[in-house]
Symmetry: C2
Subunit: 143 residues, 2 copies
């Protein structure tokens, strides 16, 4: 694990203890934390870390292209470190859990020229919405 940290070092990212914990917290698959969650986890290891610094670090990681910003609903943005592996998201409309998925087919190719309005289309982002097993179970029991 943590080739994220490796890569960052290689790219000359000035390394500080707070940046290190942020990168460590973000490392892995199926990680989709909000800025606040990143801060909370980072603070377990480095209690003094401030929210500002977490926001700074996240912003830079996004700018570097190492992390993707995902805004599923209108709530807090989530940060996905899986930027190097193209994927889409499956979101639970109950609890907001996010999973990385790999659909077949190419959504980009499905947009006809006459539907492009002169845009230079670069990317197709697909978000699948559904109910996760946990929420489905809870719904069946509750009420």
């Amino acid at each position: 694990m943590s080739d994220l940290l490796e890569r960052l070092r290689g790219r000359g990212w000035r390394l500080t203890s707070q940046r290190r914990v942020v990168a460590e917290v973000l490392d892995g698959d199926h990680v989709h934390l909000t800025a606040d969650e990143v801060h909370a986890r980072a603070a377990r290891r480095l209690p003094e870390i401030s929210r500002t610094t977490v926001y700074n670090a996240l912003g830079e990681l996004v700018a570097l292209g190492e992390v993707i910003e995902v805004s599923t609903d209108g709530r807090a943005k989530r940060y996905d470190p899986n930027a190097r592996h193209p994927h889409q998201h499956l979101v639970c409309s109950g609890c907001g859990t996010v999973r990385d998925v790999h659909p077949t087919g190419d959504a980009l190719a499905d947009l006809p020229v006459e539907e492009r309005f002169g845009f230079t289309v670069a990317q197709a982002e697909v978000t699948y919405w559904g109910v996760c097993p946990e929420c489905a179970g809870a719904a069946g029991k509750g009420e």
Copy 2:
């Protein structure tokens, strides 16, 4: 125009002057306004209308299924009255303009069972990102 208002009346939506202007402002195609923009436009016709009321009305229209909430980036949500006609969005990464598009193919069918993690998948939301003709032109000239 304004079958939105017709439909709402038919569904027993208690009609007030402020709700009327909100519905009128939202009526049409390729409309993707933020709550604040809706408020601004509504205020042209009804200066006393409050933001609270606009938020209330928008929330209800969404609950009624007459309007869709779209959050492209992490910014303010946008409201799309085109709920009855299934469509996807094409967003300009330069200026944020949104156009409704109708891709061929079915993104939902492109998600294999083994990629569903036990979720009951209900919907596939596709957002195309690109640069609109205006922004492309501006980029070519500037700098």
